[in-house]
């Protein structure tokens, strides 16, 4: 299937189709106040993807890739190709060996905390988008503290702070305050917020955050434009350079993710890997992480699905990331069910969330004014359950793998 006619119909509604007909701003042009980096990584990634024709790879290419001790981008391309699917068992075996070489049996545990769900973007597949009629909420400092205290009680030491992407509602200062509170309860603080400038990342790092994850969703900029109809997120290159700005701002590590199912998942997964690979080459100290989300149903559209990205393809992607960058951290979210997650942890991933809610204010029972969820989660296990289940799989849950310096 070519990228042009790859449309996930499950996302579209009549209303969205109408919106798509309207004129929109140039998604490649920076808005005022958006920092422009002198960097060639975007061109390089897009060039790699443009030349990636996955139909040309054969079983022999995949076998050759597996035999290489260090995988080249060409090997990575072969591992993501359809020719690799019949060899999935062999690939999974190799991925497991690599994972154990770098991570042994340890699996890092964390939980996301949504502190707001206001959003100024119009991403047609996302439950938080500004046109979706959902209950909006934002936690104040006291509520954030209550939620964090409740989470810390479960034994977790790593937290991922999320906001919707509303710079005016959830300001950088607001997020900074949340980080400061988090420092009282947690050892590792990650952020999944709207992209900001390097000096703002530096400020958030000073407040306690040390990991920044930004999903590019799709690396096909033409497709990106039809999915992100309004808001800051619409600006493709600004989002693309978020991880580089974060590293420049002093963050310890950065996370990448393509939302599998939005566009041609093979090209998107390839681009994601190359993006991380090029950035690690440029910033050797930077830690690299991958997430592998597939599309999920949202409020007001329960039909959304990841189309041609089945469990097999998901495993293929996760293994390809692991083999290409064996030292990278790989997270599998609660978008996937217990069975899939546990098996991915056994094979190739090394990080898992637990006790998850994607709504606002749901860790403390008596809290009112709850905001709605971003997407439906599939694995609803508590921290304790995930912990016990990992142990049953002979995996070692790890609560903290970092000391603040």
């Amino acid at each position: 299937m070519s990228a042009e006619n790859h449309i996930n119909e499950s996302i579209l509604s009549d209303e969205i189709k109408e919106h798509q007909k309207k004129n929109r701003i140039d998604h490649m042009k920076y808005m005022p106040d958006m920092e422009v980096l002198e960097s060639d990584i975007l061109d390089k990634v897009l060039n790699y993807v443009e030349n990636y024709n996955y139909e040309t790879y054969t079983e022999a290419d995949v076998k050759r890739a597996l035999s290489h001790e260090r995988k080249t981008p060409e090997d990575f391309a072969a591992l993501l190709s359809p020719a690799a699917l019949p060899l999935l068992e062999e690939i999974a075996q190799c991925a497991k060996v690599e994972k154990e070489r770098y991570f042994g049996n340890s699996v890092a545990m964390f939980t996301p905390l949504y502190i707001a769900n206001y959003c100024e973007n119009y991403c047609i597949y996302c439950g938080f988008n500004c046109h979706n009629k959902i209950k909006r909420a934002q936690l104040n400092a006291q509520e954030i503290e209550q939620e964090m205290a409740a989470i810390a009680k479960s034994g977790l030491q790593e937290i991922l702070i999320l906001t919707g992407e509303s710079r005016s509602k959830s300001t950088v200062e607001y997020i900074g305050e949340a980080c400061k509170i988090a420092r009282k309860y947690f050892r590792v603080i990650g952020l999944e917020i709207y992209p900001v400038n390097a000096d703002e990342y530096a400020y958030l790092h000073k407040c306690g955050a040390d990991y920044v994850t930004v999903f590019q969703e799709t690396y096909n900029s033409d497709k990106y434009e039809t999915l992100h109809l309004a808001g800051h997120k619409r600006i493709f290159p600004y989002r693309f350079y978020a991880q580089e700005r974060a590293l420049k701002g002093g963050m310890r590590g950065v996370g990448f993710g393509a939302l599998l199912g939005l566009d041609d998942f093979r090209k998107d997964a390839f681009a994601t890997g190359i993006h991380g690979w090029l950035l690690q080459k440029k910033y050797p100290h930077g830690e690299i992480a991958f997430s592998c989300p597939r599309l999920r149903p949202i409020i007001n559209n329960d039909k959304i699905n990841p189309m041609d990205v089945h469990e097999k393809q998901l495993l293929q992607v996760v293994c390809a990331y692991r083999l290409f960058m064996p030292f990278a951290s790989i997270t599998v979210s609660t978008r996937e069910c217990e069975r899939v997650r546990d098996n991915l942890m056994k094979i190739a991933a090394n990080k898992i969330s637990a006790g998850v809610s994607t709504g606002i204010g749901e860790h403390v029972e008596e809290m009112e004014d709850k905001g709605d969820e971003q997407f439906e989660i599939s694995d609803t296990r508590s921290v304790e359950q995930v912990y016990e289940d990992l142990e049953k799989l002979n995996l070692q849950p790890v609560m903290a793998d970092y000391v603040y310096v």
């Binding site: 042994g104 340890s106 000391v403």
Partner: protein, 258 residues
């Protein structure tokens, strides 16, 4: 006849075991096997993994009768390593510290320059400093003058189980440096541990090799035996091992008459 105990020293502390459990991959089973079967007296621990009083705190797994060796993994420069070391002294009540400084998230190769800097600062503060380094003789000498208690050269990239890729350079350190040489990182098989000991290394450190074995306790025992065999071979004085050329039956100097 009573044989003299074959011990070695780190700072003022004396040890008999020449197997040190490295950090990285932990489980209760591994630590038990390392202590009971591989006879480890020193267990390394990444301070960043300690979760005092919390869930899955690795400190809970470590028996009281072993020497805890905190490392500074996660540090990217001397300054960060020094801060982690100070913190580790507080938390672990241990004056030992293994310096690990890496500026590369891919290969995790140690930065010798920053390591020498951190060694100097920490040795002055009274730590027993154990620098993990790339086996470079000049840098090792810097570590010695900075006050290191031993030298820990890597055998191969960390976690790679590749054995003694840097063998020739480690041999130079063994020959030239007066401090204990502890081969760290890369040892994947008991035979490689044995080889390092035969070469004259004081001790070896391993983790992945045992942690990822099919039968952890059995592999722990294999390491103990290998380390002991290598040590005995070294002490006995290895017979001549020719690597190049044959032994001429009629010596070239046989013509000499007066």
């Amino acid at each position: 006849m009573e044989t003299k105990k074959d011990t070695w020293k780190l700072g003022n502390h004396e040890f008999q075991s020449r197997f040190i459990l490295g950090s990285g991959k932990y489980s209760l089973e591994l630590i038990q096997a390392a202590v009971e079967l591989a006879k480890a007296e020193i267990v390394t621990m990444a301070l960043r993994r300690a979760n005092e009083g919390g869930l899955a705190n690795i400190l809970d797994y470590i028996p009281k009768n072993v020497t805890l060796l905190p490392n500074t993994s996660g540090a990217r420069n001397a300054e960060e390593a020094v801060r982690i070391a100070r913190l580790s002294r507080e938390i672990c009540q241990s004056e030992f510290v293994k310096i690990e400084i890496m500026r590369d998230s891919k290969y995790l190769l140690p930065d010798n320059y920053e390591t020498a800097k951190a060694t100097e600062i920490l040795a002055k503060e009274g730590f027993v400093v154990m620098p993990y380094m790339y086996p470079d003789l000049n840098a090792a000498r810097d570590m010695v003058s900075a006050g290191a208690a031993c030298i820990m050269p890597l055998g191969a990239p960390i976690g790679s189980n590749k054995g003694l890729c840097t063998k020739e350079f480690i041999q130079i350190l063994i020959d030239e440096i007066e401090l204990p040489i502890i081969v760290d990182a890369g040892i994947g098989r008991p035979s490689q541990a044995c080889e390092a000991m035969e070469m004259g290394a004081t001790a070896i450190m391993a983790n992945t090799a045992i942690a990822t074995a099919g039968d952890v306790p059995l592999m722990a025992e294999a390491f103990k035996n290998a380390v002991e065999a290598g040590r005995s071979a070294y002490l006995s004085g290895l017979g001549r091992v020719k690597e190049k050329g044959g032994s001429a039956s009629s010596p070239l100097t046989g013509y000499l008459e007066d």
